[in-house]
Amino acid sequence: MKMPRAARAALYLYGILTILFLYLPIISVGFASVSKARYLTFPIKRYDTKWYGKAIESSTVQDLLWTSLSVALLVTVISMVVGFFGALAFARYQWRFRRTFQKLILLPIFFPQAVLGLALLMWFNALGVIPSWKTAVVAHLVWISPITTLIIAIRAYSFDPALEEAARDMGASTWTVMKEVTGPLLLPGVVSAGLFAFLLSWGNFPLSLFTTGADSTLPEWLYAKMVSGYSPLVPSVGILSIATSIVLLLCGVITMWLLRPRNKFSSAHTG
């Protein structure tokens, strides 16, 4: 394009600086996690990885891990299924309330999570349900299933309806069409949506805070410790949490990569 060289270089530089800026705090936490001192000051005088060891051994941390994991896994599975169908309703089928539906789906995303968490707490209370990690699953779903729906919907938009129609024309039932045509075509979208769902649930704080009740997730514990009763385990636990996310992200990316060549029905982009 017509952009002068200097401007183009400046733009690239801007991009790189932005990325550095985004990761700076994470780098700080990283440094802190390997500091030997109990109370944090920079520059770090002595390095030690003992806090990681303590974190992994701590039964509190193990419980937190378990809770976070359970919530995230359940949320992932459910939101993937719900999102798959929701995406079809969003982008693919022309039905009467589609436009309203589209707007409705967006509302939970545009909603302050803290308020949502509190609202759900009251709702559970009104229903007589005791908050636990299971109720947190519901809370996460409210926010995350619209997101998975949108992610899969993006894929559903570029999907050629002629493929489904052809299958039907050849005699396939609705269920078969979904299994043989729609499913495989949307699979990459579903996988990336699932990835998003897990990671967003794993790191979520505001919703978990109010709806987990006696149980506690990793982010909740971190927050509590940051606000009062600081523990030197905080940076290490934080980094461990991030590490889990990264491992999962890689798994997801590898899964996506494995899925690609096998997809024979490469959806044609119209226009």
Binding site: K2, M3, L11, Y14, G15, I19, L22, L24, P25, S28, V29, F31, L40, F42, P43, V82, F85, G86, A89, F90, A91, Y93, Q94, W95, R96, F97, F101, K103, L104, I105, L106, F110, F111, P112, A114, V115, L116, L118, A119, L120, M122, W123, V142, S145, P146, T149, L150, Y157, R168, L200, W202, G203, L218, P219, L222, Y223, M226, G238, S245, G271
Partner: protein
Amino acid sequence: MERQDRRIGFLSAAPIGLILLVSFLAPLLVIGIFSVMPQKVFSLLNIPDFSSYKLVFTKGYSKSLLWSFGMAMTSTGILFVICWPLAFGMAKVFKSFSLVITIAVVVTLFVSENIRLFGWVLTLMKGGLIEGHLRTWTGFTFEGALYNVPVIVFGLVYAYFPFMLFPLVQGIAMVPDDARQAASDLGASRWQVFREIDLPLSAPGIVIGGLLSFVLAAGAMAESKLLGGQTVIVIADEIETAFTYGQNWPLGSALSIILILIIGSLSVFGVSRVNLDLIMGGKRS
């Protein structure tokens, strides 16, 4: 095919519709009812009154509202200015670097907000990454950049950066290249192209990005607590206090309803002006 479509469409929407009905709309309804319950009760079976709303207006809770909205608007404005060049680059200039930035930004979203804000505390505090190293290398010291209003806005800008960036990228990508070139060819300067072509045609992206950042920032809590040390109490904080320490669910509900109404009407207004099929499908109808 059409009638089948209608039926399947409806059925497909059912699962998520159900979730939202039961866990989103119902709780909102509950809050609505609680907001007109008398003070400090925990059951819905009371005679409605508007005492909570009266409290909100007389006891100066509107100050928190103003702080929240003020900071949200400031951070949204700042975000628009800093994200636009990057979004433009990603949509029109960069090729594979676009993907790099996308992944880099998305990965930060997967790191819990707490951890990232904590990281800023570590970076900006006295004895932190910046001040500590500065002191050791140059002897220059400062009190630490935390516990004031600007750093809260900074935190908001940081936290909601992706929510402005990605919609902007989508919006700018919708501006046809040839329209920009034609405008230039017809005599438009760079600024005129921006004003006459870029802005109007990327409006859907701007609206969604701005709305998203504003709404999320208005309801945010962590930034003011962790970075601001509560020099300013934001509305979400007041709501939480009312529900937990204050033991006053009706008050909390009333505050929530006011927040929801303001944010809700903005969202509904903004989203109704945007053609979602267009911005998500990328097709011009």
